[in-house]
Amino acid sequence: MRIDPEVCIACEACIPYCPMEAISIKDDVAVIDQDECVDCAVCLKSGVCPVDCIIFEPAPWPRSLRTTFSDPRTEHKETRIAGRGTEEMKTNDVTGRFKRGWVGLGCEFGRPGIGTRFRDVDKVAQVLAKHGVIFEAKNPVTILMEDTKTGKLKEEVLNEKVLSAIIECMFPIEKFKEVISALREVAKEIDTVMSVECINRADPDGSYPLRKMLDEMGIPYYINGKQNVGLGRPLAEV
């Protein structure tokens, strides 16, 4: 994103709209810090500029990642999914992606509202890889990996900043304690925040084995969450 200095009237209306606090006034015009800007286009699409001086020009690789990860109105060419992640458990009744006895793990870097460089994503992905997780093949972060066995991301993307990026992976529920302990440790080394989530298929009696495990391990979780209600067809065998 950039601002046309010839048109800007320095009214400051756009400043509070930027989720990254990347807009400021310098020499009587608004300017966007290009290193901090994640090209989410919130400033532009809010329509707040009275003189239409906010400009978006598609960036070349790897800066182009900023838009595809930060603006959910754009689509990843590789996954045909808009935004940062995949269908994950939303369609689990049909895809059967998360079967009984397995746990899905999502680590959403930069959320809420802090943003992240891919170097922090890379750091955590490499730790998770060491514990044998299976990275979701259709996830846009997985596509940025040099090797899904190591979790290492391509070198040229590491300094790119995005509003958020999600690692999606899964593993047998028996490994939950090991994986979550490793995640807790590496979380101390990142320079941003990550919202952490776990996915679990209900047992036939309606209970979630993972919830029992969380309670036993004393791991806090929100009282609210997401549930697939099983209305998709054809139903998968999971």
């Binding site: 509070p16 709209y17 606090e21 989410c40 919130v42 603006d71 959910p72 109105r73 999914i81 935004g83 940062r84 269908e87 994950e88 458990m89 369609t91 689990n92 009744d93 049909v94 895809t95 998360f98 959403e108 959320r111 809420p112 509202g113 509003l163 958020s164 999600i166 995640l183 807790r184 979380a187 101390k188 990142i190 941003t192 925040v193 990550m194 919202s195 952490v196 989530e197 776990c198 996915i199 679990n200 298929r201 209900a202 309606g206 979630y208 993972l210 969380l214 791991i219 979780y221 929100y222 009282i223 609210n224 969450g225 997401k226 549930q227 697939n228 209600v229 209305l231 067809r233 054809p234």
Partner: protein, 204 residues
């Protein structure tokens, strides 16, 4: 995509916050899915949602027919009460549209609603909260508003600006919530809940 997970708030506030979405599974049941998503939105509209939206249009509760006409991939609706959620779930069960439906809200309350609608949960997504450099986060009351846009497109500074305007008397809480709502690109923002939260912040 976890855009309806991680909504923060007290039990009382979250009791007025239920998000539903309908989505096809790409490559499995996505053929001819658009009319089904549109029908889902029409069904939900009968039960007075507080927001209705899609990735294509964002949230536009004032122009629902426009949202429905342009919905393509995922349909979203937001309710502020259990009765509306139950009624919509019952209608969806009856309509048997065949696409996946996800409900976000307090687990205990959603489960009761599912039971009353004759449905059972299939798979859950639990939020384990925010890890890492949490000292960088804005205050909890700001987060309760901003996390209603799961893509984090609502700036904390815009929330603060709206609180300032409410305090100054230049906007009502409802008007302030309407400024925030269109920043959320999917239509999962709950303007009714936001107005209450903003009013509470402005009264401090």
């Amino acid at each position: 995509m976890t855009h309806t997970l991680h909504r923060r708030g007290t039990a009382e506030s979250l009791s007025e916050d239920f998000v539903m979405l309908m989505i096809p599974a790409m490559g499995i049941n996505d053929e001819g899915h658009i009319p089904k998503i549109q029908e889902f939105l029409r069904i939900a509209l009968r039960h007075n949602p507080k927001n209705i939206g899609s990735v294509e249009m964002g949230g536009m509760i004032d122009k629902p027919e426009e949202v429905i006409a342009n919905a393509r991939k995922i349909g979203h609706v937001v309710f502020d009460n259990e009765e509306a959620l139950i009624a919509t779930l019952k209608d969806l069960k009856e309509a048997n549209l065949g696409l996946s439906v996800v409900v976000s809200g307090i687990f205990e309350k959603v489960d009761k609603c599912l039971e009353k609608a004759g449905l059972k949960h299939h798979t859950a997504n639990f939020s384990l909260g925010i890890w890492g450099r949490t000292e960088k986060l804005p205050s909890d009351d700001i987060l309760e508003v901003t996390t209603m846009c799961g893509h984090a497109l609502i700036s904390p500074n815009l929330v603060k600006e709206m609180v300032r305007e409410i305090k100054a008397g230049t906007k009502t809480p409802e008007e302030a919530a309407k400024v925030l709502m269109p920043q959320c690109a999917c239509g999962v923002f709950n303007p009714a809940r936001a107005a209450k939260l903003l009013a509470a912040m402005a009264s401090k």
